[in-house]
Each structure stands twice: as structure tokens, then as C-alpha cells.
Symmetry: D2
Subunit: 345 residues, 4 copies
């Protein structure tokens, strides 16, 4: 019997049929490589309708690259980048940012994955002192690695703080769609309109196959990005296939429908878990993640049937993810398995 | 009237229907991300059948990364890498290798894109002198950027030379399939069996959408590659889609059929060009590229209808590429256009 | 009236007359550059008498380089290095380590600048997970940036812990002499003999003009250091002048006499400060540093006459340094000034 | 009998007595570290009198760092730097520039070490093409590694060419003094006044112990240099000792007197060599280097008594250097030894 991987990550699901169809639809004929094609022009048009005419948008292969190369474009090697201690950027990129940018990641403890001015402010030290890394970027994740979201006004507050200190605000938007679905806002309201300077806009976790967009809300920040992307091993030759995916993703509210489905399934899962004695939901469930503390023996047994991760390998807090393909019966069956495991104690 | 891009690059063609079908065939259900899935296991099995059980194989997104990360794994920042002056590695990666590896690329002039021991030998200097970059890798391209191929015994000679000098032999095999099709050999005969240590095995130019393989013929060389790939922004989350492409590519001789078609079309094109007075074929046509010297006024007029590149922006030598989708009528129509343009002088 | 800089840093003092004399003594005649000279041979002999015949020793210009290049030699870009949150390495090198090595510095909070197994152990996570930086080095500072020292058995405990986890122990010994003077031990007892793998051995703060030594206690760790040093901009051409300084420094117990003087003056200063109401000594005084909390208004007034730093620009804890040139009357005069300032409130 | 090292390198000589005296003269008392001291202020004043008030000047430890950090300040990782094939930058820095800057060094063949517009112009390709390194800096060496010098108008021509193409002109001035002594010009005439943007101004080869200056003729180019220097491991703590050396070096024409002596001795050596049958002077002797082709058996015998290098380990062209300490009798004795060795054939 194979292990059910659906709650392990939103990367474990496949690709939405509309996206697959889009790949086929652009397959015929010759088009110039590296983005000089009509499909890319069309995707860029759609993205600029969302993120504004002043924005500069570029495709890369994945979120790691979107974050690292986006930050690389606006950061020098003697800068520091402030991020939550739990940020993917600092925990799960195998020190790619340090290696590629040179800069220092300053990890700020948070309870819920969300940075605040109060958390950052004491770290703004050493300005103009050549011995010290120079504060330059605040990087937030929307939705956070803890499944929580920043409200537009919270983003604005961080942006104003950043700009007041001549810093920039970067957003890792691998799950921006899930945040927007939760908040019932548009994508721009949560990024450029709220003061974000550079955004990684992700699609892979929400129904695409590969491909992310780096969005600069001020084109001056992007002036070397073409070189940085190529040198950074992230210029795809057959770009029409990333473009086609984004076009489909942004058409007919696909991004929103997928995100809503994932979020709803997380709510259902949380509801089920709350009803099980001995399990504690450990983070507010706002998007497609449920964090819960589960007894260790249950984790060990459940992992024989279900693939999922502990948040920290040393604790009993687990991360359960839903995706656009998660179905209510998947959730109910999983909840049943948990119930059973708890009872077996 | 749009410009015909088919002769501009083998990246201008689409994706083979078998490859597209494979993407659909693996789309259902949940699988663990980052390569821990059955489709990746299957592709790895096929690759190891070709490249040997001792090999270690990893997928990355594109050829730039396959070359840079493959070399990064076996090279330190104080090493030098010998390559042809025309190598993609040194000309068309926006100094990605220098930036990511630190090492020095030593460009060796060649007439036909092929390195020889005679060309490399005088550059083996400064051994153990800390002031000088230490010779460490010979990187060859198969087929070369000039469309020529290395015969297996030529590769063996370079490999022996490299190993005698405690160096490694790297092969950029973005068009390894075209070389094998020309030589009527297998893929392993031209790489591991001929002494290559690290291979970039490309599929994108020959019918795939994205994805390349880095093949280490000695697993010891690969011991850190998992970290290097992740840190290098090249670990794809939904890896099943690269794996599925490779599985299709390696099934039913698809790689070979595609390469043969591209090569044959280049022969047809060369034959046509040879029949046109005033045009000189400037490199031996062995794979899917035709290099020709064409009068400047023709180039300028042709480029209004056909997209193609000069080999060097300052000369009249042009590069014409065929791909697995090129059809005889495309070639004949293009030849006719050239003939007409020449006549118009 | 000029500001008295003597308590600002042990870098504010000059060079010991023995060291200056040594520079003159090696000045005549021609010697081969880059360390192939008899004076360097002599200094190396002295260093190996101290640190063991198995050690490999190299000179660089300064402590920044000793730390960064020493670590670079034993670390890959996907590794993590554990250090105290207050370590010079992470606070005062302008993210040089991240930039040059690529690795991640994991900052561990400490009360007194000293790492413990309990502090490090929870950070040893993600082994063999390619998403995460791989634990590789523990870096300690002896004496710490807080003026405290590790006892030999504390170093041994950290070394054993490191080695058990296939990690290495690095020591920033910019003030190793001061620690040895305090503990009444030899230099080797506090480094190689206690399990340290790589040491930065500093002289500049204790009477030299420039020059530090990188000591590898296992020569295998040093096999590429010649290249790393040259590439790292730290190979001095006229090396005889660093060598001569070290020879003098290691002769007639100069290193020890200088360190004792500096340490004693710190004790005197601490004693004076303890007698002043309103001032709190905030770290145990073991070497040549005194940390004290002083009312803000006093700091502001004192800084008009005396140059010194706050430990953190946002607090009233100040760092007062003594050096081998500090004299009792300097200390008494300074204490008097503090007393006066306190009284003026 | 020891080997005479005096003709091996101008780094083999000691330090001028005026420079040694200056070290002693600044030794007393406390001064603030890292350049915030009166001796540094004095040296900066002297340097700005020479190089202009608009210049920004910084001290580093050595020439490797002056070149690499100076270039790092004005170059991005996707740029290319044009230099002579024989430039120290590309031959003898163990690929430090590639490693630290990321950029590509484009080696241009020259007969005499001097770049010309005709040599560079064909390499200015790929502008705005993200696949290709972007031409950004021309780096010349004055005097060249071949002992030849650029006349001011030659520098101006290169500077104009660079600026016309939105590039910068960098000068490695490790032997700028020797060039100025030969041309009977000032230092500024050969650098800033001739259009140079960034200069490495060397003193170590001409009588100093250690220390070089990076001079930016436009302060905007230097705006991040303080951070780059610190991060680049090149901020000396006890800076007064570099400053004092430069002050002495620039006083009483010491730099000029030393350079004249070295140059004159090279002329004497060349004159002697010309009188020996079988020896060919292979480069014009303009500064303190003599290049000569000497029969192989003579080289082998001479190297038992005299330390010197072949220009290329595979040829019989040797490099003979004079310095400010070279005396006529040294030259005559060496010439005699050569004559004897030739005769012994």
C-alpha cells in the first residue's frame, strides 16, 4: 500500500488541466526563444494588468530563484536582509542566498511567521559603520510559512518603515494567491499597492508545473535583471511554456479558484482536528496549512500511511498542507486515520 | 507577415507530442516532491541503463545549470577550466561560470570548435604555483557550437591527457544526441565509455520542454551535488514532469529519431546552399547546424523574413539551425529565398 | 585637547619596541619574496615548536582574513558555522564570511560570549537534507568578545561534540595570548591540545604591527591553503616583515609579558570602577576588557575626553580595553574622570 | 653559498631607511584604529595633492587587493574586464578577480604588454545581449609586466575609447613610479589627468614594506569602498603604519629617487647584456625590468647562483628585475657570471 502524499506539501499535487491544455495550445510552430515570443508578450500583458504598468516582470523556473535573484538585483554583498526566523529563505534554501548574494540574513524570531516593526527595529544598527552589514531589505512571506497572512495595512506599515530607513520591502509570494483568497483582495493590493518593492509571485504550488515571476514595482530596480537571470542559470530557452502556464493561471480566476479550494480544505481539516482530543491546532489557520501538535506515537504511526513533515524535527508540531486538488473525502479519511491512531495509544 | 524562426535555433521548435503526452500521463495523483517519486525512479533507471550503473544522475532545469553546477561539483575556485574559444560556456553564459564557480575559463582558439591535446598542452602551466590558477578540467562540447563532432577515439585521447595531468574531462552534451546520430553510436560510447567524467545531457533542443541531466560517471564526484543543486536554485519541486519527459525521450528511440531528422535537414540545407553561387559553407556539416558565409546585403534582406544569427556580429558568417520539426519544404523555401536575395544584389 | 584613545581598543596602541627592532634587523639584503626566506623559516620553526610539528602554519595580514580564509579552507558553501551571537565573525566583518565562503553563520545567544554544547545542540538539524545548510564548524573566540575565557576542558568538550557530529572546531584567537596569560597555560594547551582544528592566532592586538597566523592542526585541512591565501588577496610579498614580527613576539615571552600587562591593567580598571557608585561591571573581567554599565549622561560626557565604544549602540553598556602599553596612571586618571562625571549628574 | 636574489623581483629588496624611520616616528601613543588618525589624515592630504582634491583614496595591504577591490567597486558580476594577456591580474592572481568579482577577464594578446584600441575594439561585442558578458572596464598596467610604459597620450586614447563605450579605465600602477621616472612626468599626468578612473598605486615594490593605495578619480565610484574593503579583508587596524610609509614615500621625492635608481640599473644591465653574444634583449627596456633570451644551459647554470624567473616556464626568455637597492657592482658581477656561463657552453 502506497503512502498518501497529499497532505505533505502543495507541491505534491499535479498540474491543473487548464494549465496542461495551455502547454499543448502553444506547442505548434516556431517561436523565438528566451521570451521574444507572442505568448510571453501575452502573459506579460496579463501580469501588468494585475501588477501595474510601471512594473517589470520576469519569469524564472522556481521560487528559490525568484527569491534569490530578485534579492540579488537590489542588494549588495555587504547588506543585510531581515526575515522571519522561520522564513523559507533562511531555513530551506541550503544557504543559497548567502552563497549567491553574499549578504547576511538576519533571522528575527516570530510567533506566527509575521515580521513586525517592533521585531525589526532593534536590529537596525551599525548604519554607515564599515564593520557591520548594512540594513537593506525586509523580506516577508505572504502567506507565511506558518500559514498566516499579512493584512494590507500590516504590509504598508512594514513598507513605510523600510522606506523611512532607506530599505526595500521584498515579498516571497510563493503562496500569495492563498493569502489573497483568504483576505478577499486582489494580488496587487497585497503587494505593489501596499508598498512592496520586489515580489516573487508563485504559481507552482497552486496548479502550475514550473515557473515563477519576479515582479519589480519600480523598473529602476530591474535594470540589470536580464543579465542577473541569465548568469543565474534561470533564463529558460523555450519560454513560451512558462508564459502559457501563467496565462492560463491568470485567466478565468484559476489562481483564485485553486487557492480557495486549498484554503477551504485546510479549514475542513482544522475543524476535524479540533474535534479530536489530544490534538492542538498550533497556528491560526488562514490559508492552506494546518499546524497541529500531535502526540509522537501518533505521528510515527500516521507516517506509515501519510506523508507529512514535522515543523521542526525535534518537536511534535506537524505541518499539514492542502492543495487545489485536495478533496473533502481525503480530509475526512485522514481525520479518521488520526482519530484511530490517537485511540490506539 | 511574421518572420519564420525555424532556422534561428533548435530552441525555436516546440515539444514532441510524445513528450507532451508523457506530461499528461503523470499528472494524476499526489507524489512526493523533489524527486522522491516513482516517475523519477523510472527515468533514473532508464538513464542508468544507458550511462552505466556506476553513474550518478541528477536533473536540473536547463543546460546553463547543467554545465555550471556540474563543473561546480568538481572544481574549486582556484582552478582553471579549458574550453574552446567558441564554447557556449565561455561565450553565452554571461560569465555565469566565473561568477558561480570562481574558476578561470581558459579559452583555446580552434578552427572547428574542437579541442585538441596540442591546443591545450601549452596552457598546462603553473602547477603548484600559488600565483596561478591550477589546471583542473577540460570541457568539450559534443556536438560543438560549430556543428562538428568528436569521434570516440578523439574523446578518449583528451580524457587520457586530462587524467594523466590529474584533470577531469567534462562534456557539454546539449546536442549529444545529434552527435550520436551522426556517428551512429550510443550515448555512452561518446561519454562515459570514452573517458568523460561529467556530462551535461541535454534534451530541450531535441524535443523536450525543459530539463537536462547531469551525469557523473564516478559517484564520488557527485557526493555533494544534492546540496549544490538545491543551493544553486535548480531543484525542481514537481520533478515528475522532468522525469516523465526524459522517460519519453529515451523510449522508442525518440532522442535518436529527432536527432536524425534535424541532422538530415541540415544536410539538405547545406546541399541547397552549396548550389548557390556566392555562398560558402564554412564548417563541415555533421549535425544540425549549417555555417555559411553569405554576402552582407543578403543577410540583411533575409533577416526580414527569416530569423537567424551571425556567428559573430562583426562578420558575414551565419548559423542556420535545423531541429526535429524542420521539414524539407521549409528548407527548400528558405533556399529559394536565399537564391532570390543573392540574385537581387 | 585631544581625546585619549587608549581605552578604545587594543588596536589603538603602537608596536612593541622589540617588534620594531626586529623589522630593522631583517631589512638588509635580498630575500626571496612570498615566504621563501630564512626569516620565515625561523618564524615557522618557532610556531611549530609551540603548536606542534604536525601543524601547518600560514601568515596573513589581519584577523579578518585569518578567520575567513581559515574557515574557507575547511568549509563548503552549503555548510553552516555556529558562533556566538556576539562573535566578531558575525557582527563586525561586514558579512565577509557569508560573502567569501557562502556558508551560513548560525548565531547562538550567550550571556558571556561563550558557546556551550547545550546552546549548539538544538541547532544541529537537517543533516543530509539538501534543503538545509549542513552543520560543519563550531567557531569559538578565545578570549571572547566579552573578555571571558574558555578553560581547556570547556574547549575539549566542544571539540568532542564537534567531532562526534563530524564537525570541526575553529578558534578565533585574536586574543589567545590574553586568555593564556589569564589561565597560566601555554598557547597549545588552549588550542590544538584541546581539540581545536583551525586557529587564527593573533599578534596585532598584543604588540605587533600587522600579521596573523592561521594554524591547522591537521595538515590535510591545509592542503589548498596556499591557493586560497593567494586568491584571497592575503599573500604578502615581503613576508620577512611578518615573520620577523612573529619571531620577536614569540621570543623572550614577549607575547606573555604584553598580555599580562594588558590583563593586569584591566583588573585595575575594574577594581576602580567597582568602587564608583552607579557603575556596574557587567561581565567577568578575565582578560584585557572591562564591560560596564555607566549612566548615559556620563558616557556622553566622558566621550568628549576618552574614546570608547558602547557594546551595542542602543544600550549603556560600554567596552573598555587595555593593552600592553596601558599604564596604571592612565587607568587612575580615567577612573578619576569617570568619578567626576558621575558626580556631575 | 647562498643564491643572490636581487634580480629575481623588486619584491626581494628590503625597505628604504626613510620608510623604516617613519614607522618608528609614529609609534608612540594611542591613535584611533582603522584610519581615523592624524597620520592617515596627513598621508591622505599628500595623496590628494598629487591625485587631485576630487579623488578618493583608500589604503589596502597589497597590490592584489588594490586591483581586485578597486575593480570590484566599479564592476558587476556580469561585466567583462579587458586586459593584456600578460597582465598580472589574469596570470598571477590565482583567479582572484574571477572569484571575487565574478566578472570575465578578456585576455588580449599584445607584443609588449600594452593594450591598444585596435586590440580591444573587436572584443566589444554583445552589448545588451543578456547571454554575453557586458564590456565594462579596460585594465592597463603601468609600467607593464613587460617593463614598457604607456605615454600619457596613449592612456588618453584608451580612456576616450573606454568612455565612449560607457566603460571605465583602470590602471594597475604597481610600478607607476618607475613609469613616471622614465617619462619624467608626475604621477597624476599618467593616471587621473590622462583619463584613468581607478588606480592601484603601489609602493611595496619601490621601497615600502606593505600597503598600496586605491585611488578613485571620481568619488562617486568610491561610495561603497569602505564596506567593500572591510568585507574584502583589507581594512588594517593599525593604519598609521601604512600611512606613515606613504608619507615618507611621497616626501623628498623618495618614490622618484628609488624608481630612478631601479630604472638606471636596468639600463646598465641591458647594456651589459647587449654586449654578450648569444643573448637577445627581447623587450624595450624602459623601467626596471630587462627581458632577455638566454640559452637554456646558461639559465640552468645561472640559476644555481642567481634567483630569477623565466617569463614562461616553457621558453628561454627570462625576466631580470632591478630595484631601488640594486648597485652597479651587483649588475657588473651578474653580467660577468652570465658571460662566463655563455662561454662554458
Amino acid at each position: 500500500m502506497s503512502i498518501f502524499a497529499g497532505f505533505g506539501s502543495d507541491n505534491h499535487s499535479g498540474v491543473h488541466p487548464d494549465v496542461l491544455r495551455a502547454l499543448r495550445n502553444v506547442n505548434d510552430g516556431y517561436v523565438v526563444a528566451y521570451g521574444h515570443d507572442e505568448y510571453t508578450a501575452q502573459a506579460m500583458k496579463q501580469l501588468k494588468e494585475i501588477f501595474g504598468k510601471e512594473s517589470a516582470v520576469f519569469f524564472v523556473y522556481n521560487g528559490t530563484a525568484a527569491n534569490i535573484l530578485g534579492l540579488r538585483s537590489v542588494t549588495d554583498s555587504f547588506h543585510s536582509i531581515f526575515c522571519a526566523e522561520s522564513a523559507h529563505l533562511t531555513v530551506h534554501e541550503c544557504c543559497g542566498p548567502e552563497n549567491y548574494i553574499g549578504a547576511k540574513l538576519v533571522n528575527i524570531p516570530t510567533a506566527d511567521g509575521k515580521l513586525t516593526v517592533d521585531g525589526i527595529e532593534p536590529c537596525i544598527i551599525g548604519i554607515d559603520d564599515p564593520h557591520m552589514a548594512q540594513p537593506h531589505v525586509i523580506s516577508i512571506t505572504q502567506a507565511t510559512e506558518r500559514g498566516t497572512v499579512y493584512h494590507p495595512e500590516e504590509i504598508r506599515t512594514l513598507a513605510d518603515f523600510a522606506h523611512t530607513h532607506r530599505m526595500l520591502l521584498h515579498m516571497d509570494g510563493a503562496r500569495l494567491c492563498n493569502a489573497a483568497a483568504f483576505l478577499k483582495t486582489g494580488l496587487h493590493e497585497l503587494s505593489g499597492a501596499a508598498g512592496v518593492d520586489v515580489l516573487s509571485f508563485g504559481g507552482t504550488k497552486n496548479g502550475m508545473m514550473y515557473g515563477e515571476a519576479v515582479v519589480f514595482f519600480d523598473q529602476n530596480l530591474a535594470k540589470n535583471f536580464e543579465f542577473i537571470r541569465k548568469q543565474g542559470m534561470q533564463l529558460t530557452s523555450k519560454m513560451r511554456y512558462i508564459s502559457a502556464q501563467f496565462s492560463a493561471f491568470l485567466s478565468n480566476d484559476l489562481w483564485l479558484r485553486n487557492a480557495l479550494q486549498a484554503n477551504e480544505m485546510a479549514q475542513l481539516l482544522a475543524e476535524q482536528l479540533r474535534s479530536i482530543p489530544g490534538i492542538e491546532i498550533s497556528q491560526e489557520v488562514q490559508t492552506n496549512m494546518v499546524y497541529a501538535v500531535i502526540p509522537n506515537h501518533c505521528i510515527l504511526r500516521l507516517q506509515k500511511q501519510y506523508y507529512f513533515h514535522r515543523f521542526n524535527e525535534r518537536t511534535c508540531e506537524v505541518r499539514l498542507m492542502c492543495s487545489f486538488t485536495t478533496q473533502p473525502q481525503d480530509v475526512l479519511r485522514f481525520a479518521e486515520a488520526i482519530r484511530k491512531t490517537i485511540g490506539e495509544k
